[in-house]
Symmetry: C2
Subunit: 566 residues, 2 copies
Amino acid sequence: MLLEAIYHQPKSQYAYAYNEETLHIRVRTKRHDMDRVSVVWGDKYDFSPEKVTTTRMVVFAQDDLFDYYHVAIKPPFRRFAYAFKFETEDQTVFLNEVGFTKDKLSSSGVGMLWSPSGMFEFPYLNPIDVHSTPDWVKDAVFYQIFPERFANGDPSISPKEVEAWTPDAVPTATNFFGGDLQGVIDNLDYLVDLGITCIYFTPFFEAHSNHKYDTIDYLKVDPQFGDNNTAKKLVKEAHRKGIKIMLDAVFNHSGYYFPPFQDVLLNGEKSRFKEWFHIKSFPVSTNPLNYDTFGFVPEMPKLDTEHPEVKAYLLEVARYWVEDIGVDGWRLDVANEIDHQFWREFRHTVKKANPEAYILGETWHNSMAWLVGDQFDAVMNYPVTNSILDFFVKDEIDAASFMGRLDAMQIAYPKQANEVAFNLLDSHDTPRLLTIAEGNKARMKLAVLFQLTYSGAPCIYYGDEIGMAGGADPGCRKPMIWEKEHQDLDILAFYKKMIQLRKDHRSLKDGTFRFLSAEKDKKIIAYERTDVMDRFIIILNSDNQKQKVTLENISAGTFRNIDTDE
Amino acid sequence: MLLEAIYHQPKSQYAYAYNEETLHIRVRTKRHDMDRVSVVWGDKYDFSPEKVTTTRMVVFAQDDLFDYYHVAIKPPFRRFAYAFKFETEDQTVFLNEVGFTKDKLSSSGVGMLWSPSGMFEFPYLNPIDVHSTPDWVKDAVFYQIFPERFANGDPSISPKEVEAWTPDAVPTATNFFGGDLQGVIDNLDYLVDLGITCIYFTPFFEAHSNHKYDTIDYLKVDPQFGDNNTAKKLVKEAHRKGIKIMLDAVFNHSGYYFPPFQDVLLNGEKSRFKEWFHIKSFPVSTNPLNYDTFGFVPEMPKLDTEHPEVKAYLLEVARYWVEDIGVDGWRLDVANEIDHQFWREFRHTVKKANPEAYILGETWHNSMAWLVGDQFDAVMNYPVTNSILDFFVKDEIDAASFMGRLDAMQIAYPKQANEVAFNLLDSHDTPRLLTIAEGNKARMKLAVLFQLTYSGAPCIYYGDEIGMAGGADPGCRKPMIWEKEHQDLDILAFYKKMIQLRKDHRSLKDGTFRFLSAEKDKKIIAYERTDVMDRFIIILNSDNQKQKVTLENISAGTFRNIDTDE
């Protein structure tokens, strides 16, 4: 028994409230080290021998080095003292807050070290602290729209220099094609038909660029896209058709032409906005750069989100679009560079306006510090994105490594955050999926199939579903192809079928996920998704040849090729 | 190299901002496993090979199984990408966010896995998120007063049934001796002479019991102790003499006679206060208990701190005593059973009234979830209490185990929380130190000497310094003995000397702490405390016989017996 491998931390992703009555307790051990792992638990104020319960835990995730055990427990008085019991054939070891002990529990079940003062504790399950995430996201299929490139519904407001919207149009860093919000309204039925239930828009607030990340006015739709009434109409029409709307909150930095920054450039130390940014000296200079920016980009001055006026302004933005316009969520750009205190107030503001609003952080790294219930609902699941691409699309890792990387994310966060994680395969910031797959449709389909049968909310980047290709920005930002003869209808049919399958089966949304096979040096995986209604066993072969897989404890049955129905 | 033993978690006690420019990075390895451990780091947006720095880490804590490495780094742009490098004689392994790799770094210093997207990150050091604790607490020597038992300064307000204040008085659960706030004011010079800089009062708000934990009115001094003007006078006089005041916030539950609870008892479902508590059914009943309480004590109904009115009331209490009366801190009773959200607002309220106020949680268990900067400054350090008692006083553990348990607390929390941790050896809830030591003054002195030369703020329970004895509550709550002939003046002199030593040397307050010797099966320890001015080497023998200790890399010198000056 390798004691050094065992890890538990109270009040963390290893011990948290899943809902108002349920605690999740987890512990890590060396892989394949234990025969049995249990939680020994009781009320912290009544830890008498006859009231202590021993509950067996199950392995819910595995990686190269570790097994991760999990159990759900409902303590009658919402408080809880506990220890772990590890068993192998010839050894029993207990772990409590003081450390390890090999002492056998006495026949009464409670020995010296088992006094509550030595136990781990979940001191009290207070409802307000539960990391509660919106239920609707579990059922959602997202569709990401880059508004300048989806559809032009109102040519009268298009930029003057607009280029022709053709299937072979070439996007550049600076050109315009005339997409707008009316274009989205006009095509809502297309999205309904595809099975979409929420649109994630990259920014549509006033800005100079075609991508609109250089915000000028956070409270105004860019005139090239329409006005705030168009936005309101879009939300209303979308809601009527069962589609929700999520916007992009670029609060880490403003654009260069944001009036307060322009005022600082103009008036320097005398500007009443000089404290809205992190200016190190005056006059403000872009070279050498003497103010904090996103990365080292002078055009994106970092906002001081600790400043009361900046905070008040941005929180009003957050409130306005949710409460007055009716949008259903915010995706938070560069979310992990803004202070935690701001996000706490942001959550309070947004959830007050709509308790069911979805708060999604763009973070590329471990995000546990934002997922404790007071800040984000979930994060963009880039580690899962990369794992899916590396295994199915780029063919760079084996099945064991794929499982290890995915399961590491299961233990990284509380379950309720993973249930509403945002699973994307590509975006306006990356090459398109089909391009990453070097045109290999079979590989693309495997990735999509996995995405649509994995836990968390899938997001489709506009046009992927009709086989659009394109390299890194700007290549991935071509205008949407609407002519059927230029669409890949086979891919479209595949997406529709997979989305429908997911919609028809709860188990594919929030059922238990478990790998059944993921061997070293193999390219084939099998996994199951189960709930009380269904049990799906899905086998995906990412090898170029036919492969055999042996599943233990699975009774014989017939498998169907989901693509060909054979 | 045991990979399973290595542990790091971004944005946790393993990676946090120590101040507005400094990050602390820590990692755990198997004990004595590594020759060298380093952090490889650079700016997250400029991670070019020539700009990556490798900084060696040092072991700052050890326990039975693990070494804990630490390093402080100041990233120029307040953001930071990093990985770890582990070296033994024949192996080099790197750990980044994706996992372990044995790939040698290329000569350029940066290989494939070293792209920032695979690195750990501290995304941004925002000042408001720094867990900032009050500097004065590092210099503080606390003195805990149980107000009914310290001194009777105004017999006119003593309870009618008051008993005689004699050295052989016997406290019971219900009797009274007449201690009050004027008694404390009258004896401030005694505390100044002892070297005290802050008084921690158990509750003095209106309540029926002698301990006053059954609050009736949180905004009013108990009439047996004086009135709010007496409190104000006490604070003013104490401040004039360089002594701060910390009060006890019993916010988890009210007393049975708290008017809102009485209203619920009387009016049941019609009470306008029925939602101030957690009542499960009406009418309210104590047997069977149908409302939530502290433990299973019907007389202590748990307050619903999520309810806006309760929150507003308690936050006003928090503000009033700090802002209007001038107290310097709050000790939070049963702190970990109240919701985190309440404590966030509590911190905001208290620090707004006095940014230097000390917020101290009473928690007996791992408290990391409250020490991330938005809730408590520090917690009562019971794990250290128990370790000191077990080693020096009860003679139950060996030196290695003592070191392991103390060092485990060093890695459990950020340094700034440990610097202002509240180190007590006994209290109104435990037997007195001398009684735990079964009258063995030498053992008591060792414990006190360690307490006063360890990191964190020491607290002396009233009367310990004059050799008062007493078992568990109520035995530990005897009236203070003021007659010199009944005081142990040897113990008093020892306390004064040790307090003065601590006051004279910064290094004993916030200097680096490091064990020099703590062997298995031995009862002798050596440790050093160092800063730029001083280097103390302290050797404490907890054995009943003389012992020899060998210190490596220490040049010869003369050691002095701190008690006898020999």
